[in-house]
Symmetry: C2
Subunit: 198 residues, 2 copies
DNA sequence: CTTGTTTTGAACCGATCCATCCAAAACTAT
DNA sequence: ATAGTTTTGGATGGATCGGTTCAAAACAAG
């Protein structure tokens, strides 16, 4: 029927996502995206209709890669709830200290985008809020289960503790991006876990 | 001798700082800076030599406005150490929920800049790291004093707890920028204080 | 008022921005 | 082969980017 593509759309999306992840939306030019994906401008604009759309899809892809497994971990019935939270934090630490292209963490595309765009791009803000709600719900459920099992302190509501853990995760990512070493970030996580134990 | 300026350099710097604070470095154009300061291009380039330099001075100015009083609070001998930390967190909450031009927090220029620039601008990263060290030292000193006084838990080193508090502050700012309401951010702060009490 | 210096606004600069266009190439289905 | 469709690379477009230049304007000092 017609000429087929010589590239894989998902691989291109992943490459674009990494570029946005590393440098943010504004600082990633269409030229950068061409180089990161190995595609020509035409192919990019033919496949993804604009830089903005490509970013939006990158954000969705990132959430799919990160939030989905994190939620799965938080809902794992094989593990005690507090252990799920602990493993979640450990996973965040690992994520910050692997794949450091220039010796510094990429941070988290979600956090990066909240900081860069949430204040002036309502659509991006909406995507981010929705993703955050999903994460908060999973965290809250795990923490509530832990409270009922007596292994997580009950002096605050599960929803509040979930927000707390979520904020600590963001703080760990900022710390890592700011140059903190692994031990420092691990100590932050451990202190947060302390705060959850009775 | 010569024609005097019709504007105040410090006011212009403050206006520029606010522009960078609201939109970040990349997304703030020189035109935006002209409009924010009310100056012409020539006046800006005559006074501050480049956009980059103006940003750097904005960063210094921000640190002067924020870090200096925060450190003063943390060193206030009139207050019990834990109370200093509590007040610091309260001040952060207040900062996030006043001056919200478009109904959303500006966040914190330091956090915003860590996320946007630390990975690819070594000079900015250096300024940020130095400021962070100052804040961490003050936090660590206050927490250490609280531990010796028995009002702050001693199961972790003061330096680790300082990093923890610092990360929570960053997390609160990200949460606020992401749309969290005041009660949610206050709960994060209160939970962090819980983590410090024995 | 003249002289000397600085500020100021507007025009201007090359570079780069995101995006489009188009013709040649590449492939399938007939 | 041929026809039909899509991809592809390169050229191109208008807008905006950060930054410079320059002459007119505005003031202080003599």
């Amino acid at each position: 029927m017609a000429r087929p593509r010589t590239f894989d759309e998902d691989r291109a999306l992943d490459a674009a996502m990494r570029a946005f992840w590393a440098n943010g939306y504004e600082a990633t030019s269409t030229q950068d995206l061409c180089e990161a994906t190995g595609l020509g401008r035409s192919s990019i604009y033919n496949t993804f209709s604009s830089k903005r759309d490509l970013f939006r899809r990158s954000l969705d892809r990132y959430n799919e890669l990160m939030t989905v497994p994190q939620v799965a971990l938080l809902e794992d019935p094989e593990l005690p709830p507090l252990e799920r939270v602990r493993l979640l934090l450990a996973r965040v630490v690992d994520g910050e200290f692997e794949n450091r292209p220039q010796g510094r963490s990429l941070g988290c595309l979600t956090v990066n985008t909240v900081v860069e765009l949430a204040g002036r791009d309502p659509e991006a803000a909406g995507v981010l809020e929705q993703d955050q709600e999903v994460r908060l719900a999973a965290l809250s459920a795990a923490i509530g289960a832990g409270q009922r099992a007596g292994e997580i302190a009950a002096r605050r509501e599960a929803g509040e503790l979930a927000r707390f853990v979520n904020a600590v995760i963001a703080g760990m990512r900022v710390a890592a991006k700011g140059g903190a070493d692994r031990a420092a970030v691990e100590a932050i996580a451990a202190t947060a876990v302390d705060a959850l134990t009775p």
